[in-house]
C-alpha cells in the first residue's frame, strides 16, 4: 500500500488522533483535567525516576518479566489433524502469572504513579471482568489511596470472586444498574463520578481507550508485554515471531503485545474480538460489526444503530463485553497493519477446556478467545512458524461461569 506511514509507532498525533480515530470527546468540565494529565504524562516520560519506580514495582511487586512459554502439548494436539507439514509452534506470553492474575496490573501501576505525581487523593475505575477493578484496588491498597470501583450489576453476578477480592482490598464497589448493567454502563458511571470530583480524583481507565492521552499511556504501560516477548523470543530462538495473537476487549493487552513489533514487517498480528452468540446475533465484535462513532471520549468503531445509539454488546467473557474498541486498533485495522477476527462464546469455551487439559493452565475466558483463533490459524501455518499468544489472564475468576455454561454445579 502506498499510503503506509514510515513507522506505525509514532501515533497518536499531538491532538491524540490515530488517523481519524481517538481524540478528546469529553465534556468541557473534564477537558482541563485531561490536558493536565497529558502534561503530567509528558513530564513523567522524560523523568528517569518515574521509569525507575515503574520498573521496580513491575519487577518486585508484579513479578515481571512474565515467562515466555512454549506450549508443546497444545502445539502437538493441533498438529494431529493439521495438513502435512502444518501446525505452527505456539508460545504463550504468560501475563496470567502476574500479581492479581492478569495484564491489567501493568497499567494500574503506571497510572497510580501518575495520580500521585498529580497530587490526586482519590481513585476511581470501571471494571468488566473485575480484573481491572482488582488491579486498581490492589495498587490503591499498596499506595494507601481510597478507591471506588464501578461495576455493572450483571457483571457483579458473574464475577463474584473478583467483587469479594476488591472488597478485601479495601475498595468500595458500586453496582451500576443502568443499561445492560455491564462494562459500558460502569464506564458511564465512572465518568459521572469523575466530572463531579475533578479536583481530587484520578480516573484509572482499564483499557487503551477513552480520551487522549489514555489510549497512548495505557498502551505504553502495557507495552512491557511486547518488549519482553520480543527480547525473550530473540534470546530463545534467535528470531522474531511470525504471528502475534491477542484477545480484544478495549484492546489493551493486544496493543501491549503488538506495539513493539509494529515496525517489524515480517510479524503478522491478529486481534480476536468476542463474537458472542455469533456475528449475526448478539456479540461484542465492534470492528466486525460496528461503524465509526464517538463514545467515552474517543472516536472509534462502535456497535450502534443508524441513529448512533449504542447497541448492547454480548460476550460470555465480561472483560470483552464492550461495544467499542481502543482507537489505535481502529486505525491499525483501517490501514491494514493488523488483522482482526472473532471467536464465539462456544469456541472460547472449547479453547478454555483444551488449554486446561493440554497444558495444565486454566486461562481466563478473555484469552480463551485468542486461543480459539489460534486453533484455527496454527493448523494453516508451517511447522517452523512461531505464534506468540498473549495469555493475559488466569481463569480462577471464570470457573463459575464456565461451570454454568457446561451445565455443572459446583
Amino acid at each position: 500500500m502506498s499510503t503506509q506511514p514510515n513507522s506505525f509507532r509514532t501515533q497518536p498525533d499531538e491532538r491524540g488522533h490515530f488517523g481519524i480515530f481517538g481524540g478528546r470527546f469529553v465534556a468541557e468540565t473534564l477537558m482541563p483535567l485531561v490536558l493536565d494529565l497529558e502534561r503530567e504524562y509528558r513530564a513523567a516520560q522524560s523523568d528517569p525516576a518515574f521509569a525507575a519506580e515503574f520498573d521496580d514495582l513491575l519487577t518486585h511487586y508484579v513479578g515481571r518479566p512474565s515467562p515466555l512459554y512454549y506450549a508443546e502439548r497444545l502445539t502437538e494436539e493441533l498438529r494431529k489433524d493439521a495438513p502435512a507439514g502444518k501446525g505452527a509452534q505456539i508460545w504463550f506470553k504468560r501475563d496470567e502469572l502476574n500479581h492479581t492474575g492478569a495484564h491489567k496490573i501493568n497499567n494500574c501501576i503506571g497510572q497510580i504513579l501518575l495520580a500521585r505525581r498529580m497530587g490526586k487523593t482519590r481513585i476511581i475505575a470501571e471494571t468488566g471482568a473485575g480484573q481491572h477493578g482488582v488491579a486498581t484496588a490492589t495498587v490503591c491498597a499498596r499506595f494507601g489511596l481510597p478507591c471506588v470501583i464501578y461495576m455493572g450489576a450483571r457483571d457483579m453476578e458473574r464475577q463474584q470472586p473478583n467483587v469479594f477480592r476488591m472488597k478485601l482490598l479495601g475498595a468500595e464497589v458500586i453496582g451500576v444498574e443502568s443499561g445492560a448493567r455491564t462494562l459500558k454502563d460502569a464506564m458511564n458511571e465512572a465518568l459521572r463520578d469523575w466530572v463531579a470530583n475533578v479536583h481530587d480524583t484520578f480516573y484509572i481507565i482499564g483499557t487503551a481507550a477513552g480520551p487522549h492521552p489514555y489510549p497512548e499511556l495505557v498502551r505504553d504501560f502495557q507495552s512491557v508485554i511486547g518488549k519482553e516477548a520480543r527480547a525473550q523470543l530473540l534470546e530463545r530462538t534467535g528470531r522474531l515471531p511470525d504471528l502475534l495473537v491477542a484477545a480484544i476487549g478495549g484492546g489493551s493487552n493486544a496493543i501491549g503485545l503488538f506495539h513493539p513489533f509494529l515496525d517489524d514487517p515480517s510479524v503478522r498480528m491478529l486481534g480476536v474480538e468476542a463474537a458472542g452468540h455469533g456475528l449475526d446475533n448478539e456479540h461484542a465484535a465492534s470492528l466486525a460489526g460496528g461503524a465509526p462513532g464517538i463514545l467515552h471520549g474517543n472516536r472509534t468503531y462502535l456497535l450502534q444503530d443508524e441513529d448512533g445509539q449504542i447497541d448492547e454488546a454480548h460476550s460470555i467473557s465480561a472483560g470483552l463485553d464492550y461495544p467499542g474498541i481502543g482507537p489505535e486498533h481502529a486505525w491499525l485495522r483501517d490501514i491494514g497493519r493488523v488483522e482482526y477476527t472473532s471467536a464465539t462464546d462456544t469456541e472460547a469455551l472449547g479453547a478454555f477446556q483444551l488449554l486446561c487439559r493440554t497444558e495444565g493452565i486454566i486461562p481466563a475466558l478473555e484469552p480463551s478467545h485468542a486461543i480459539a483463533a489460534v486453533t484455527k490459524v496454527a493448523r494453516e501455518m508451517n511447522r517452523d512458524a512461531i505464534i506468540v499468544v498473549n495469555l493475559c489472564g488466569r481463569g480462577d475468576k471464570d470457573i463459575f461461569t464456565v461451570a454454568e455454561a457446561l451445565g455443572t454445579r459446583i
Binding site: 470527546f25 465534556a27 477537558m31 466530572v195 445509539q309
Partner: protein
C-alpha cells in the same frame, strides 16, 4: 434580528427550559412551556449513554427509547414546534454520536430544515470542533458552547471562538440535576465571563426552584431549568403538560420579575 437576539433583548432575563424529546407527548409539553412563559426551548436528544446526565434525565432518555423515539421523530418534533411558534428559539441538546453519525453536514442541514436555531453538544469541546462546528456555522445554526467552573482564563477565548446564540454557564462541576451552585460563585463566574464576551450568558445545572432562578436572573441573562421539568413528565405522564405549564409560569414570574427588583 435572530430569534436568540430577540429572546435575550427583552427587558428581563430569559427562562431557558429543557425537556427530553420523545418523553411523553413532547409537542404538548413544548406548548405548555411556551404558554407558561419560557423564552428559549432546549430539546434534549436522547442518547443511550448520557455520561453528563444525572438520574432524572437518564430516566427520561430510557422512557423516550421505550416509546421508540428516533432522530427522525426528534426532527419532526422540532419542525412541528417551529410551525406553531415562529419566534421562540429552539435548541437541540445532546451528545456527539447521534449528532454526527450521518455526517455533521447532514445534521446541520437537518437542524436548519427543522427550524432549529442552535445546538449544544455536550461531548465536543473546542479541541474537537471540526467534528461538528464548521458544519453548523456553514448552515447558519448557532453553536452554543458550555463554560464550566473548570474553564480557566486560558481556555475561555477558545471556548468563545465560534460560539453563537448564548453562552451556557454550567454552574457546577458535575452532572445534571444534582447539586446546585452557591449564588456567590455564580455571580463571580458571570462577572468574569462578561469581561470576555458580548454573548448573553445563561446559567444552568441544579436550578430547581423559582427562588433560585430569581437569584440567578439578577446577575445572568438567562436561567436554564431542566431536571425539575423532566421530573414532572415522569410524575404526571399524560397529565404532565398542565403541571409543566403552571410550574413554568412560576419560574417565568420569578425570573421575569427579578431584574426590576434589582433596579
Amino acid at each position: 434580528m435572530t430569534r436568540f437576539a430577540a429572546a435575550f433583548a427583552k427587558p428581563h432575563a430569559a427562562l431557558v427550559t429543557f425537556v427530553t424529546a420523545g418523553d411523553g407527548d413532547t409537542a404538548a409539553v413544548l406548548d405548555a412551556l411556551v404558554a407558561g412563559g419560557a423564552d428559549v426551548i432546549e430539546l434534549g436528544m436522547p442518547f443511550t449513554d448520557p455520561m453528563a446526565d444525572g438520574p432524572a434525565i437518564q430516566a427520561a432518555n430510557l422512557r423516550s427509547f421505550a416509546a421508540g423515539t428516533t432522530t427522525a421523530d426528534i426532527l419532526a418534533i422540532a419542525k412541528g414546534f417551529r410551525a406553531r411558534h415562529a419566534d421562540i428559539p429552539l435548541v437541540l441538546m445532546g451528545y456527539a454520536n447521534p449528532m454526527t453519525v450521518r455526517g455533521a453536514d447532514w445534521f446541520a442541514a437537518a437542524c436548519k430544515d427543522s427550524g432549529v436555531d442552535g445546538v449544544i453538544c455536550v461531548d465536543i469541546p473546542f479541541e474537537e470542533d471540526d467534528s461538528l462546528g464548521p458544519a453548523l456555522r456553514a448552515a447558519g445554526v448557532d453553536q452554543i458552547r458550555l463554560a464550566t467552573p473548570t474553564t480557566d482564563a486560558a481556555r475561555l477565548p477558545a471556548v468563545l471562538d465560534g460560539a453563537g446564540g448564548f453562552l451556557y454557564y454550567v454552574s457546577v462541576a458535575g452532572i445534571t440535576g444534582l447539586q446546585q451552585a452557591a449564588q456567590a460563585s455564580i455571580e463571580e463566574a458571570v462577572a468574569r465571563l462578561r469581561t470576555q464576551t458580548d454573548l448573553p450568558i445563561a446559567v444552568g445545572f441544579g436550578v430547581r426552584t423559582p427562588e433560585q432562578a430569581a437569584n440567578i436572573a439578577r446577575v445572568a441573562d438567562g436561567v436554564v431549568v431542566g431536571s425539575a421539568l423532566v421530573e414532572l413528565v415522569a410524575q404526571h405522564g399524560a397529565d404532565a403538560p398542565r403541571h409543566i405549564e403552571s410550574f413554568t409560569r412560576s419560574l417565568a414570574a420569578a425570573i421575569h420579575g427579578a431584574k426590576e427588583i434589582a433596579a
